[in-house]
C-alpha cells in the first residue's frame, strides 16, 4: 500500500512542533535566569570591590593615626545637616506608619519612544525614568521652588552672572560603585556639546555656555559667554553621567543604544546597558545609593495605551496612579467603588503650559488685519474663556491673562483675564469700521468685505477639536466668521515656519518656574523661522525683555517681567485662552501624597526623593 501522509502523521507532526516550541521557550527561560544570575554576579563583584576599597581606606586612616570611627558628616559627608533635598523624605520617615518596601506601579500612557539613554532620549516619559536613575547638580524644592543643591554640596553664582561654581558632595557613587568626581561633570558637559551626539535639544539650552572646568577634585566652574537669568534652570536639565561608563562607547553606539543608563540616583536599571524597547521599565533600588533611600523597592512603569484597558487595570488595583482624561475623571469621581480606594487630584501647575490663539500680523511681507491691536483685543473680548473651561474642560482648566502661570511672581498681580464682553468687543469693531451693514449678522467693512479668518489647528486631539468649534460659535455671536482649518502636525509646523496662516491655535508646554518671554515675542525671533511666528513686534517690549534676561538681581528682574506682562496684556499678540489642570487618581495605599507649590510632592520630571510610602499592612508586592 502507498505510504501516505495520514491523520496520525499530522497529529505526530503537530505534537513534534509543539514540543520544539516548548523547548524553545524553555531555552528563553533559562536565558532569563542566566541573565538574573549574571546580574547577581555583577552586583556581588562591585560589592567586593567596594569592600576592598573601603578596607583600604580604613587601613590608610588607621596608619595615619586617625580613628576610623570619627564622624565626618560636618566636613562635607554624604548627609548634610538640614539637607533641604532630603527634608520631605525625612518628614515621611518620621511618620508612625512609615515603612519601606512594596512597588509603585505607574503607567506611561503610550509606548515609550524607545530610548532611555540620557540626552539622546526624546519623549516625556523617558525623562520620568531619567529623573529616578540620574542626579543633577542642583534641583528645585517642590515646596518653595527655590534651587537646592543635590549632587552639589553648595554653589555660588558670581554677581555678573558669568561664573557658577559648584562644590560636589563627598561619598557619592554611581550605581556600579565608582565614586563621582569633578571629571564626570566636565565629561557630561563635553558629551552634550559634542555635535556627533544626537542631543540637539539639550545642546540648544547650552548655547550661552562657554566652558566647564575642574578646579579641584570636588569643584567645577561653569563659565558663560553672556549673563542669562535662567542659567540655574538650564543646570537642572543636566543629569550627571559617569565618564568611566559612557566613554567606553563610540558616538554612534551611544546614539543607537537605547538603554545606556547608569547614574547616581536612588534607582537603577537591573542591567545598565541591556534595556530594549518593548521590555517593561522596571527600576530596582540602587543598593549603593549615596543618600537617604526612598520607600519603594521597585518602580514599575506599564505602557498601556488603550483607555478601557487603563481604567480596568486601575479598577483592579494593577495601577497605583491613573492619569485619565477630564470626562473620565469626572465620571470616576462619582463612582463609589473608585473613590473608596483612590483619591482624585486635579492639579494646577506651571508644568502644564497654556493654550492660545496666535494672530498672524504679517503675511507675504504685508500687514494683515490682525496687525491692529484693537482688533486683537476685540476678538479676545468676544471669546468666552470661562464658558470654554466650564463646558469643554468641566472646570478643569482656568482662563489666563497672559503667558505666565497663575500666581507666578513674573506676572503683574493687578492683571485679570479679559472679561467675556460681546458688546464691548463689537463696539471696538464698529469703531474700526466693521459693522453689520445688511442685517445678515456678519460684520462687514465699508467695501463690503466680511470679517472672516481661518483658524488652523493640529488634528489628533478631540479636545482641541471641540475648543475650535466652541470658538467658532463665540465668534459667530459677534458677527465674525471663523473657518476651522484642521491640519496634521507637520503641516502646522510648516505653516508656522513660513508664516503662512491667518490665525492658529496651539499650546506652549510649561516646565520653567521662571519663563523667558524672549523666544515667542521678541521681534528678533521673527526672522529665520524663529518662534515669533505671528510677527509680533513692539520695541518697548523688546527693550524690557532683553534687559530682564540680563538682570541677575531677582527683584529688579521681576519688575521688568511684570512690565513685559502688562505690555503683552495691552497688545494681545495672542488671545490667551486657558491653562489645563492635570487630573489623576492615586491609590489610597500610597500614603503621604501632598500638594506642593510645584505639583504633588512627587514631580515626575524632577529627581527629588520620593516621600511616598505604603504602610506595612497595605503592602502587596513584597513577599512576607
Amino acid at each position: 500500500m502507498q505510504n501516505r501522509f495520514g491523520f496520525k502523521d499530522l497529529v505526530f507532526l503537530a505534537l513534534f512542533l509543539v514540543f520544539i516550541f516548548v523547548v524553545f521557550l524553555e531555552m528563553k527561560q533559562i536565558d532569563r535566569q542566566w541573565q538574573i544570575l549574571s546580574e547577581l554576579k555583577d552586583q556581588s563583584s562591585t560589592q567586593t570591590q567596594l569592600l576592598a576599597s573601603i578596607s583600604r581606606s580604613i587601613d590608610t586612616l588607621s596608619t595615619s593615626g586617625i580613628a576610623p570611627t570619627t564622624q565626618s558628616s560636618n566636613s562635607g559627608g554624604v548627609t548634610l545637616k538640614n539637607d533641604p533635598f532630603f527634608t520631605p523624605l525625612k518628614e515621611a520617615e518620621a511618620m508612625p506608619d512609615f515603612a519601606r518596601g512594596d512597588y509603585l506601579v505607574d503607567n506611561f500612557q503610550t509606548k515609550l519612544g524607545g530610548i532611555l539613554t540620557p540626552y539622546i532620549n526624546q519623549d516625556l516619559y523617558s525623562y520620568w525614568v531619567q529623573a529616578k536613575i540620574f542626579d543633577i547638580l542642583i534641583t528645585q524644592d517642590p515646596n518653595t521652588l527655590e534651587y537646592i543643591p543635590e549632587l552639589a554640596r553648595s554653589f555660588q553664582a558670581s554677581p555678573d552672572g558669568l561664573t557658577f561654581t559648584f562644590q560636589l558632595r563627598h561619598g557619592v557613587r554611581f550605581s556600579d560603585g565608582v565614586p563621582l568626581t569633578a571629571d564626570d561633570v566636565v565629561f557630561t558637559y563635553n558629551f552634550v556639546q559634542n555635535p556627533k551626539i544626537n542631543a540637539p535639544r539639550t545642546r540648544s539650552y547650552l548655547s550661552k555656555f562657554k566652558s566647564v572646568e575642574k578646579t579641584a577634585e570636588d569643584e567645577v566652574v561653569f563659565r558663560m559667554s553672556e549673563p542669562y537669568f535662567n542659567t540655574l534652570n538650564v543646570m537642572t536639565n543636566l543629569p550627571i553621567i559617569p565618564k568611566h561608563f559612557y566613554s567606553k562607547f563610540g558616538e554612534e553606539e551611544i546614539n543607537q543604544n537605547p538603554g545606556l543608563v547608569m547614574g547616581t540616583g536612588p534607582y537603577r536599571m537591573p542591567d545598565p546597558k541591556g534595556w530594549r524597547p518593548g521590555q517593561k521599565v522596571v527600576l530596582v533600588r540602587n543598593q549603593l545609593y549615596w543618600g537617604e533611600p526612598p520607600a519603594f523597592d521597585k518602580l514599575i512603569y506599564n505602557e498601556v495605551e488603550e483607555e478601557a484597558a487603563q481604567e480596568t487595570m486601575f479598577r483592579n488595583g494593577e495601577l497605583d496612579i491613573y492619569r485619565c482624561t477630564v470626562p473620565q475623571f469626572d465620571r470616576l469621581s462619582k463612582d463609589a467603588s473608585v473613590t473608596s480606594r483612590a483619591t482624585g487630584y486635579a492639579i494646577d501647575s506651571f508644568l502644564n503650559g497654556f493654550y492660545f490663539i496666535g494672530w498672524n500680523e504679517k503675511r507675504n511681507g504685508k500687514d494683515t488685519i490682525f496687525a491692529d491691536k484693537r482688533l486683537r483685543k476685540a476678538l479676545s473680548l468676544v471669546t468666552d474663556r470661562a464658558g470654554l473651561c466650564a463646558q469643554i474642560y468641566l472646570n478643569h482648566a482656568k482662563p489666563i491673562s497672559g503667558p505666565l502661570w497663575i500666581g507666578s511672581p513674573q506676572a503683574d498681580p493687578a492683571i485679570k483675564p479679559l472679561p467675556y464682553d460681546v458688546e464691548g468687543g463689537k463696539k471696538i469693531l464698529a469703531d474700526l469700521g466693521w459693522i453689520d451693514r445688511d442685517n445678515s449678522g456678519v460684520l462687514k467693512n465699508s467695501q463690503g468685505t466680511p470679517l472672516r479668518f481661518r483658524l488652523s489647528y493640529a488634528t489628533g486631539s478631540e479636545f482641541v477639536q471641540r475648543v475650535v468649534l466652541f470658538l467658532k460659535d463665540n465668534f459667530a455671536k459677534a458677527g465674525v466668521i471663523m473657518e476651522p482649518d484642521p491640519q496634521p502636525w507637520s503641516v502646522i509646523n510648516q505653516l508656522m515656519e513660513h508664516r503662512d496662516f491667518e490665525a492658529i491655535t496651539l499650546g506652549w508646554g510649561g516646565g520653567d518656574v521662571e519663563s523667558d518671554l524672549y523666544q515667542e515675542y521678541d521681534s528678533s525671533q521673527i526672522a529665520d523661522a524663529g518662534d515669533n511666528f505671528i510677527s509680533y513686534s513692539n520695541p518697548e517690549f523688546d527693550k524690557t525683555v532683553r534687559q530682564a534676561r540680563q538682570t541677575m538681581d531677582r527683584d529688579a528682574r521681576m519688575k521688568l517681567w511684570q512690565q513685559a506682562d502688562r505690555i503683552l496684556f495691552e497688545d494681545q499678540p495672542y488671545t490667551f485662552l486657558y491653562s489645563r489642570q492635570e487630573v489623576r487618581f492615586i491609590d489610597k495605599r500610597i500614603h503621604n501624597v501632598k500638594r506642593t507649590m510645584a505639583e504633588l510632592n512627587v514631580v515626575d520630571l524632577w529627581p527629588n526623593p520620593i516621600p511616598w510610602y505604603v504602610p506595612k499592612g497595605m503592602q502587596k508586592y513584597t513577599q512576607p
Partner: protein
Amino acid sequence: MLTYLLRRLLLIVPTLLGVSIVTFAIIASSPGGLGGALLGPNAQLRPEERKAIMAYYNERYGLNRPPPVQYLKWLNRVSPIGFKAIDTGFPGSLKFGLKWCDLGESWQRHRPVADLIGEALPITLLLECSSLPLIYFFALTTGIAAARARGKFVDVGLGTVLIALYSMPEIWIGVLMIGFLTNREYFHWFPTNGLHDITSDAMLFLPSFSPVGFQRGWLLDTAWHLVLPVVCLGYSSVAYLSRLTRGSMLETLNQDFIRTARAKGNSENVVTYRHALRNSLLPLITVTASTLPAILAGAVVIETIFGLPGMGLLFTDSALQTDRELLMALTLIFALILMISFLIADIAYAIADPRVSYVD
C-alpha cells in the same frame, strides 16, 4: 521549470524597485515635509528646542537635498550591490561591489531599523503561531460538521453563529472582553495587558505545587496572557474559514468518487476524512498561502488593545509619523514576502495539479 523560476526571481528586482520608488515619492511629497514630522506627534512645543532639533535632523538625514538624490542615496544603502565608502577621509573614495544591506536608522526612534523589526517580529510570530493552529482546528471541525449535517439544525445553527461572529468588529469585542473578563468588578479571569505578569521574572518555568499553593509558572502565565488576544484575533478567521471549508466539502461530497467510496462499503468517517477532506483542502491552502504576508504584517487592533508591541503597531506608527526609513524598509520587506509567497503558491499548484505546468 528552472527557466520559469529564474525568470520569476529576476522579475522580483524591478518590481521591488518600482514599489520603492512609488513609496518614496509618496513619502517625499507628504504635506508638511519630513522635517516637521520629525518633531514628533506629541510635540509639546518648547520654543528654543524646536529650531535646533529641526536644523540638526535636516543635516543628519540629508533632508535639505533634492528628493531624487535622497532616493539614490537610500537605494545605494539598502541594495546589496552598490557603492561603499572605503575611506572616511576627504575627499573619500568609493568602491563598487557587494556589501551588506543597511536598512538605516528610524527617524522617530533613532535606532537601527533591523533592531526594531527584530524586536517586534517575535511578538507577532508568537501571537500568530499560537492562534493559527487553533483557527484551523475550529474552522475544520465546524466546517466539516456543518457540511455533513447539511440543512439540519447543526448546519443552520453553526451558520448563524459564525456569520454573527464574522460581523462583529474585533475592536469592539476586544474592549468588551477587557471591560468584563479582566475586571475585578465582573469576572477577573484573565490579565488585562501585556505578555507577562509583573512577578513573572521570579517564576519557575513549569507549573508547580509548593507549600504556599499552586504556582502557575512562566509558561502557563504566558499562555494565560495570550488567551484573550488569541481569541480576539481568531474568531472572525474561524468563521470565514469554516464557511469556506463547508462549501468545498459539500462540493466534494457531491462528486462521483465519493459515491464510489460509499459503494465500496467504507464507513462514513473514512469517506469524510480520508476521501473528501483531502480533496476539499485545496482552496484552504490557497487562502493560507496568501495570508502569509498578512501574518507578518501583524494585527494592529489587537496589538493596541492588549498592549503587545508587534509588527502591526510598528508599521502603522511608522506610517503615521512619516518615519521614512522604517516605513520604506517595512514596505520593501512586505513586498518581497508577498512576491515570494505568490511564487511558492504557483509552484505548489504545479506540484498539486498535473494540469498546471510552466514548461515553455
